[in-house]
Amino acid sequence: MTQSIALNAVQLAFVLLLSPLFAGILARCKELVQSKRGPSIFQPYRDLRKLFGKDERISENSSWIFRAAPYFVFVVPLIVTLLIPVLTDFPLFFAFAGDMLGAGFIFAISGMFFTLAAIDGGNPYGAMGASRTRMVGFLAEPVIIIVLFTVSFVANSTIPYIVQQHWVHPPANFFAPSHVLLLLAFFMVLLAETGRLPVDNPSGHFELAMIDESKALEFSGRSAALIKWGGYMKFVVLAIVFLNVLMTPWGLSSDGTPAHVAQAVLLVAFKILLLIGFIAAVESSYSKLRLFRISEYLAAAFVVSVTAMITEMLHL
């Protein structure tokens, strides 16, 4: 039992410490694609250190929600990390504390607080961003639910660890049409939920066009650092759900020995790097969708996921 708690702590550390690195690598990749040199991959660490050292400015008219939201945004991805298979493919101590639907609801807590805080801050762009985020969120909901239902139907369980085991036994499941369709649907939702192109431009500066970024405009100092870090961790957590649970549950250690866990850290990081490369390619290939086209994008994801579900039900 101590071993599984220790492994949980290692997972938390993995997500906590390496997420800014992955964010930096993604930013550098995109810049390289555009033939620029780009910032150093360690720049997010420097940004966080800078922000932690700065003063905070909080509006007098804001309520406790504005003060509490950054903590929620920071802590929620860490809680979800406890539930998903990051480095091991056998269930750890907190594995049965919540299933995938539970993880979805926990993400909803942070989303709710962040959205309310954006309105609470009094910044007009914040309110606009909050309503747009909600629109993207509710359109992505059905897709997530159908994806989760389909994989649970295959695995007869909603616990991520068990789902991940069943997706590749027997190997024929990996090539099944429903698998490819589910991956596509979840990838489209991943881009929408983490605010990447073609849904939202994470490196844009034009507030009228922002969806996710404008919610964070009012925060400063430590709150801004927590929100940034929380954002990086949310991206890494969703990527891990995509990679380890849905796509390729390989590279995870089957026993908890330190050597294998270290190897798992490297392999999972490598997988995330491949995904980052792919996301950089996708982001560089598409322009930002106009706001009303986002519903078409997510409708397409919905259709893909329902087709996956039907295809799975008919055992095609």
Binding site: A300, V303, V304, T307, I310, T311, L314, L316
Partner: protein, 221 residues
């Protein structure tokens, strides 16, 4: 069929149905043509995989002919005969908006699967995925044909329907004599040629290729 080939075929079928959905979603004529090329290549891949063991040279020939005529000749024909200035804008217009079209396509996919189940039960040995996906893609192609307004996207919907029909065909009739290869090699490029010519005539007489918007010939009230 060996398990590995069956698995790869299943992957190809998944990508085929994705390409059908992509054709429904896309809003640009050029992208629509590229997705059609991808779909034809996937059809050829499925033909190669199904014909690999037990070896059937019919299917190999069909795959090669599909690549040649649908992935190379037809896009070239369309690019030469219906160049970009004939498309008023790069985007295509539809009679229904995209989310509605997507939902209808979903319903048609369900209907296609349902209709195919009858046939699948009659032939448990043949690849059931090919038959079901083929029927579903046929109906979605029909939807595209009905909903699109410009000439070239309608043609691409029709060609997608033919792709779907042959996807079913390669599973149920693997040794269909020469006809299928002849049809794909000559009939389909001729079809594209004539449609392209008609699109040019439409452009010259009307200034646009929006043939779906022509409703002047009807019974008077």
């Amino acid at each position: 069929m060996t398990p590995l080939l069956a698995e790869l075929n299943a992957l190809v079928l998944g990508l085929f149905i994705i390409s059908t959905i992509a054709m429904t979603v896309t809003r640009q004529i050029g992208a629509c043509m590229q997705i059609f090329v991808v779909q034809s290549l996937l059809l050829a891949a499925s033909a190669f995989l199904l014909g690999a063991s037990p070896f059937s040279w019919h299917l190999f020939a069909l795959g090669c002919v599909t690549v040649l005529s649908k992935a190379i000749i037809i896009p070239w024909l369309l690019r030469v005969l219906v160049p970009n200035e004939i498309h008023q804008r790069r985007e295509l217009s539809q009679a229904l908006d995209v989310p509605t079209t997507l939902l209808v396509a979903l319903g048609l996919t369900l209907a296609g699967y349902a209709f195919a189940q009858h046939l699948v039960h009659a032939a448990p040995n043949l690849s059931p995925g090919n038959i079901s996906m083929g029927f579903a893609a046929l109906l979605v192609g029909l939807l595209l044909l009905a909903v699109r307004v410009e000439a070239v996207p309608q043609l691409l919907g029709l060609l997608a329907m033919e792709n779907a029909a042959f996807l079913t065909g390669i599973a149920i009739a693997p040794d269909f004599p020469l006809i299928a290869e002849l049809a794909i090699a000559f009939d389909v490029p001729l079809l594209a040629f004539i449609v392209a010519l008609l699109a040019r005539i439409a452009y010259r007489s009307m200034g646009t290729t929006e043939v779906g918007a022509l409703t002047s010939l009807q019974e008077r009230q």
